[in-house]
């Protein structure tokens, strides 16, 4: 792991694709699965049952891959790269919703999505070093 390396390697490209796709597709499967379960939700037990429904489980599995691959990517890539690129997941989620769930996306909603992507990208792009003052060790 070469910290601060600026070369855009094949490894980075692959992990970026995995991060973006596993998040969006994971959310898609979770949504399809949960919509089938919507009527039977209510008790805590019904949520446990829902988790084991094939589509929900597939969605959760993909979201676990998303978390792990994102953590791995963050170990060598800058947050200022990861944050804006993964913000594209918002657009991808909308497209998947439009295509596979036949969601109606108004111009206003597209506008909202693009503002959110721009906002996340701006935060990432302008993020340099962490600026936190570490809390006092004996705090709380």
């Amino acid at each position: 792991m070469s910290r601060g390396a600026s070369t855009f390697s094949v490894k980075t490209l692959i992990f970026t694709l995995v991060v973006v796709l596993s998040n969006a597709v994971g959310n898609l499967f979770l949504t399809i699965g949960m919509k089938q379960q919507a009527a039977s939700l209510g008790t805590p037990l019904s949520y446990i049952t829902a988790i084991f429904q094939p589509l929900v489980a597939l969605g959760i599995g993909l979201l676990i891959i998303w978390m792990l691959s994102r953590m791995a990517l963050l170990s060598w890539a800058d947050l200022s790269f990861v944050l804006p690129v993964t913000a594209l997941g918002y657009v991808l989620s909308a497209i998947l919703g439009r295509v596979f769930l036949e969601e109606q996306i108004s111009a206003r909603r597209w506008g909202g999505i693009f503002l959110i992507v721009a906002g996340v990208a701006l935060v990432g792009w302008k993020t340099t070093t962490p600026s936190a003052e570490p809390p006092k060790a004996e705090g709380v």
């Binding site: 949504t31 949960m34 939700l41 949520y47 989620s93 935060v123």
Partner: protein
């Protein structure tokens, strides 16, 4: 159930979880030993910290709320709407964690807020 109530649950629980994690991890100090044994020891230490346990609890609340949200709302609404947590976290990072937030980050947070407002309209 009103989808915005669920968005509120997701955002509130995410923010609480992140704040607790960030606070406890900074109190722990930077993790330097990245060998499997070192990471194992860190995990054992952290698993006993009240704030970390609470953070995991709120993470679970956040996920179950999100599951409920997508069971009734559009995917193209649910995913962007939960970005509201970024705005709340930026404010609380300033107020609670006393982080320095520069103009660009405030501008980014404001754009996200404006975007969520458009989703609501």
């Amino acid at each position: 159930m009103n989808p915005w109530m669920l968005v509120g649950c997701v955002v509130g629980a995410t923010v609480l979880s992140d704040l607790l994690q960030s606070f406890e991890m900074k109190r722990h100090g930077e993790i330097e030993d990245l060998s499997p044994g070192g990471i194992g020891r860190v995990l054992v230490t952290l698993a006993k910290k009240t704030f970390v346990i609470l953070a995991v609890f709120f993470m679970a609340i956040s996920f179950f709320s999100f599951m409920t949200l997508v069971s009734i709302a559009d995917l193209s609404f649910a995913v962007p709407a939960t970005a509201l947590s970024m705005v709340v976290e930026t404010i609380l990072a300033r107020v609670v964690l006393k982080e320095h937030i520069d103009g660009w980050r405030w501008a980014g947070a404001a754009l996200v807020a404006a975007g969520v407002l458009l989703l609501a309209a």
